[in-house]
Point group: D2
Chain length 343, copies 4
C-alpha cells in the first residue's frame, strides 16, 4: 500500500509502497480516507533533536485521521466492518494505576501512532478497538479527520467551566483557533485571541473571538486590563509554547484564575512563580493529549449538534501524494490546517 514514510534517519519524507499492516485479535484495520498534518510531522520531516531521539525509521507517519473499518479482530464486539471512524492515537497500557483511574492520557507506557509505531499517512492503519470512535453522518470526513488536534483544544478549554467567563487564547495556530471556537460555543462571555500574525487573527475572528490583540504592536497587559475591568482573564489557554506567550499567559490571568499550558516550549522557561503563580493563587494545568474518552464524546456531541464549525481552520486540502506542498505551506506559516485526502 502507499504510505508517507520516514525511510531512514535524516530530513525529509517519501511516498513509497509498504506492506499492509496486520491486526491483533483486539484491533481493527481502517482504510484511511482523510488525514491531517500536525506540527509534530514537520519536526519529524525536519529531523530535529527530538525526532532523532524518539523516531525509529522506517516509520509511517500520521496520527490525525479518519476512515472506514475494513477488518475487525476476533475479540472486537462493538465495531463492525463499514463503520466510519476516527481514533485516539495514544495507545496506552490499560492496566497501570493511571489507566485504571481515568488518567490514561498520562499513562507512562503510551505509544503514539505515527511516532512510536506506524501511523495513518497510509492506505491502511491498524488500531486497537478501544481507541476507535464511531463518527455520525452529520460530521464530514474532513472534520472527523481532525479529532486529534481538536480534542487537544477541547481538553484545554473545557478543563473547568468557561460559561459566563472571560477566556484568553494565546497563540492561534490550528489548536488555538479551535480553542477560540470551543470557548464561544461553550458560552464564554468574552473570548480574546492574542496572536502576532494578522491572517491568524482574522481566522480567530472568524472562529468567534470577540477581540484580537497583536502582541507585536499592542500592549497586551493594558488591553486585557481594559477588557476585564482590571481583573484579568478567568481562563488563559497557552497555545504558543513561546516564552513570551507563556509569560503573558501568567500575567494576564486574574487572581485565582486558570492557566492551561498546551504549547510546548523548548528547554527551561523562566517563570516568576512568587509574583505570577503563588501570590495570585493560580490554578495551572498541563494539557497532554485528550481525556480518554470524555474529550472524544464531548467533541463528537459538539460537532454533531452543530455548535461549532471548524471549517475556517482548514486552509488546504491536498491528495496524499502532494503532502510536501502542505508541509511547505505550514512551514511558511501560510497554512492553518492541511487535510490530506486518500480517495
Amino acid at each position: 500500500m502507499r504510505a508517507i514514510l520516514k525511510p531512514e534517519p535524516g530530513p525529509g519524507l517519501t511516498i513509497r509502497d509498504v506492506p499492509e499492516p496486520e491486526i491483533r485479535s483486539d484491533e481493527v484495520l481502517i482504510k484511511v480516507r482523510r488525514a491531517g498534518i500536525c506540527g509534530t510531522d514537520l519536526h519529524i520531516y525536519d529531523w530535529d533533536e527530538w525526532s532523532e531521539s524518539r523516531i525509529k525509521p522506517p516509520l509511517v507517519l500520521g496520527h490525525e485521521f479518519m476512515g472506514e473499518v475494513v477488518e475487525a479482530g476476533a475479540l472486537v464486539e462493538n465495531i463492525r466492518v463499514g463503520d466510519r471512524v476516527s481514533a485516539e492515537g495514544h495507545l496506552v497500557c490499560g492496566h497501570c494505576e493511571l489507566c485504571r483511574t481515568g488518567q490514561s492520557h498520562v499513562c507512562r507506557d503510551t505509544q503514539i501512532i505515527g511516532i512510536d509505531r506506524d501511523g495513518a499517512f497510509a492506505e491502511l492503519v491498524a488500531i486497537p478497538a478501544t481507541n476507535i470512535i464511531p463518527i455520525p453522518k452529520s460530521i464530514s470526513d474532513d472534520h472527523a479527520a481532525l479529532f486529534d488536534p481538536l480534542g487537544n483544544a477541547f481538553h484545554t478549554v473545557l478543563h473547568t467551566e468557561v460559561a459566563g467567563r472571560v477566556v484568553a487564547v494565546v497563540g492561534c495556530g490550528p489548536i488555538g483557533l479551535f480553542a477560540v471556537g470551543i470557548a464561544c460555543a461553550a458560552g464564554a462571555a468574552k473570548v480574546i485571541a492574542i496572536e502576532p500574525h494578522a491572517d491568524r487573527r482574522a481566522l480567530a475572528s472568524k472562529m468567534g473571538a470577540d477581540r484580537t490583540i497583536d502582541p507585536t504592536s499592542e500592549d497586551v497587559d493594558a488591553k486585557m486590563s481594559d477588557i476585564t475591568r482590571g481583573y484579568g482573564a478567568d481562563v488563559v489557554c497557552e497555545m504558543s509554547g513561546h516564552p513570551n506567550g507563556i509569560a503573558a499567559a501568567f500575567r494576564i490571568c486574574r487572581n485565582g484564575g486558570h492557566v492551561r499550558l498546551l504549547g510546548l516550549p523548548k528547554g527551561l522557561v523562566e517563570v516568576n512563580l512568587a509574583r505570577d503563580v503563588i501570590f495570585k493563587g493560580l490554578h495551572v494545568y498541563g494539557v497532554v493529549g485528550r481525556l480518554m474518552y470524555e474529550t472524544w464524546i464531548e467533541m463528537r456531541n459538539f460537532l454533531a449538534a452543530g455548535l461549532l464549525d471548524i471549517e475556517p481552520v482548514i486552509t488546504h486540502r491536498l491528495p496524499l501524494e502532494r503532502f510536501e506542498e502542505g508541509i511547505t505551506a505550514m512551514a511558511a506559516g501560510e497554512a492553518a490546517k492541511v487535510v490530506l485526502s486518500l480517495d
Copy 2:
C-alpha cells in the same frame, strides 16, 4: 409612598400609601423602577396555608426588582447614589458557618424581602449594601428586574457543566423557560423542554429548545430514549414541582446523571429511590435561591455579553397600579412573566 400591601391576614392585596423605609448605616435605599410578579406573590395573594403560617401583615410584597440608589448609609463604600442596581432578596446572617463557607444561600437565618420584611412593590425599598448588584447599561430595566428568578435558573443549570451535554427541562414556567435559554447559551448539545401547555412549549422553542415534548399526549420516556440513543438526559432540571414531573425527572435521567430539583411539590412525594436513584447512581441537587454571589456575577456576564435574550419570557408589562391584572393573567396560566413599572 405607594406600595402593594397585604394589609391584614386573608386573601387579596391592596395599593396604599405607606411610610417610607428608613435605612441602617450598612443599607441603601432604592427607588424602584421595575418589579416582577412571582408565583410566591400569588400564594400570598390567595392566602394559602403556607402564607398564613409565614406572613405577618401588614407587609409590602415584592422580591424581584431593579431601581436606582437614592441614599446610602454611612458605612457603605462601594455603592453610590445614582447607581442602577438589582439585589439579592435573601438577607442572610453573614456570620454562621454556612455564610462563612460560601453557602449563604442556605443560611438558616435567612429573611426574604416581600415575605419576612417589606419588599419592592413600592416606590422605595431598603436593602443591605452587601446584597446589591450594579447593572451595566447594556442590560435593560425590564431584564434587570428579573435577576431573582433568572438567578434560580442559572443556579440550577450551571450547577455542573452542561456544555456538550443533553439537558431536559421539566416544566416551562418562567424559570423553566429561562433554564432552556441558559442551557442553550452554555453550549448544551441538546435541550429538551417537557411541558403540557402548548403556548409554553412555543415559548420554550423561542428560547432555543431543540425539542419539546407534551407529556399529556406523548410518551415522555420513549421520546427521551429516542433522542438520547437510550441513555437518558445527562442533566434534568425539574421546574414543575408536580409529582408526575418529579417522577419523570428521575426516570429520564441517564445512569450517573444529574437531577436538579427546583419546583416545589406539596407535602410528601413518593420516589422509587432504589430503582431511580441508587441503582442509577444519580446525583440529585436541591436548588434554593441563588449562590451569593457567583450566580449573580455569572448572570450579569451572560446578559451583558448578549449570550441570552430573556425577552420572550416577558408576556405582560403593566404599571404598578394594574398589578391585579398581572396576578389574574398568571393565575389563568395566560402569562409567563409579568413586569410592573413604577415610572
Copy 3:
C-alpha cells in the same frame, strides 16, 4: 469442583460438584481461598421476589472473594499465575459511553458474578483480567475477600471530602461498620453511628465511632442537633435502606450537606422533597457498586498503609461446607460479616 449452588428455582442452596469453568483469552481462572456472604446471598437463599425475577438457576453464588490465579488467557498481559488477587464482580461492557467516561459502575449492560453468571462460592471462578486487583502481602486473605462490600463503603464515604467534617452513618450492618472506620481513617472530625441493635452499636464504637445513637430509645434529631451545635451532619451515609432511616438521613443532614444513599429500600419511599431536599439545598448521591477502579486503588492503599482495621466486622469464619450456619447467623442478626474458607 465443589460449589454452593442454587440448583433450581425456589428457596435454599446446596453444595454440589459442578464442572470447572473455562476461561476466554481475556480472562483468568482463580482458585478461591476466601469468600464473604452478602445480604444479597440471603435474598437468593430465601428466593424472594427479586431473586425470582433475576436469577436463572442453576447458578453458583458468591461475589465477595479472594484467591490465587491458576490460569491466564492468551491476551492477559499484566496478571500472572500465582498472583494473589481480589476482583470487581461487576462485569461491564467496556464500550458504551458510560464505560468510556469513567462511569462503568453504572454501565447498563452490567453482569454480576454470583447473580447473572457463576460466582465465587466455588473452588474456581473465571474473571475478566480487567476486573482483577492484585493484593499486597500486608493485607490478609480474610480482609482481601471483603473488598466488594468494603468498596461500597469507600465509594460512599469518600464521594466528597470528609476530613474535618461531621459524618453520620445510618445503619450499621457490615457496610455501615466499614463506613464508620473509613470516615475515621479519612480524618472526619466526628463520626456518629445510628443503629438500633446494641451489638452493632458496640461494633461501631470499636470501628471508631465517636458517638452512637439508638433510634429506638433516643431522639435522633435532638442528639444530632446537640452534637453539631444545631447545624446537622455534613455528610450522612444511609446504609439501612429502612424508610425511617432514610427519613432520618434527610432530616439530620445540615443545610447544603451531602446525603448518600446505599441501603436499598423496597418499592416507593415517601420523601419530603421540598422541606428536606430543596429548601435545604442538599446534595444526594445514589451509591451503586464501586468506582472502577478508583475505589479499588484507594481501598488497597488504605489497608496496605494500615489506616483501617476491618477485623472487628468479621464475626464468623466457617469452612465453605458450613455456609448454612453463616446464613442462619446473618438471618438472625447475630453476625456482621461471615467469611467462608476454602483451604
Copy 4:
C-alpha cells in the same frame, strides 16, 4: 501600650509604648495573649528589599496571634466582649468580584495586619469583626495563636483529597511540619518529608511522617520512585521556596498529580514546563493565605477533635520582651515556631 515596633526605615525592631488603637463600628478590639513570630517578621527585622518597598514605619508588627475581645463596635452582632478568639490577618475589600465569589484570599485590595497596618505584637489590636474566629476551650492559647501559619498548611494540604494518597512535603519549616501532620490526620496513605536539616526531619517524624529524605545526602528521585513503585507522589506540597526544592517538587510528582506551591522563591525560577508540567499533565496550585473561611472552620474542627497535635512544632516560648531571642533562634535555624506571651 507596649508594642514591638519598626520605628523607622532600616534594620531592627524595638519595644516601645504606643497609643492604643481605636476601633470602627464594625471592628473589635482584642487584648493579645499569644503571638507567633513568622519568617516574614524576620524579613522586616532585616529590612530586606521587599520590606523596604512595602513597609511604611512606624508600624507595629505581628499577624499570628490570639487573645480576648475587650471591646466591640456598635454594628458587631455575633462577637461579645470576653470571647476567646484568633483572626484572619488579611483584611479584604469585601465587595470586588473575587470577594463576592468565595475568593477573598486573592482580593487585590488586601491589607495585612503587621505589614500594611498595625499588627498583633502589642497589648491590643483592632480587627474587623468579619475576620474573627472564636476558639473553643479545647484548643490551647499557644495553638490558637498559630492559626495563621497552620491555616496556610491546611489550605495547601486539603486543596484536593489526600485520603489514601501519597503526599510529599518539600521543606519542613513550621508550615511544612504542620502540613505533614495534617496529611497524616486526613488519611494520607504515605507522607514523605524532604528536608536537609536533621532536627527538622526529626520533627517531621514526630508529626507523623512515614519517611524522611535528606536531599543533601540521598537521591530524592530514586527514593521517591522506590516508595511509590515508580509512580511518584500524588500530591507534592512545596514549602521550601528554594529553586532546588521547586525543581524536585515537579520531578517527584506523578503524572496527573498535584503540585502546590507555597514556599516563596526570589525572582525568576527556571522550570522545565514541557517535560515536568505539560507532558506530565500536572495540576499546579499557587497557595496564598487561607480560604475565608473554609480553611478556618476546617482547622478549628481538626484541632477541637484532637485529630492533630501541633505541639512538637513549638520549640520556643518567650515573653514579648524577649522577642529578639526568638528572632535570633529562627535566623540561626534553631527554632521551628516561637510563641510570644503577653500575660
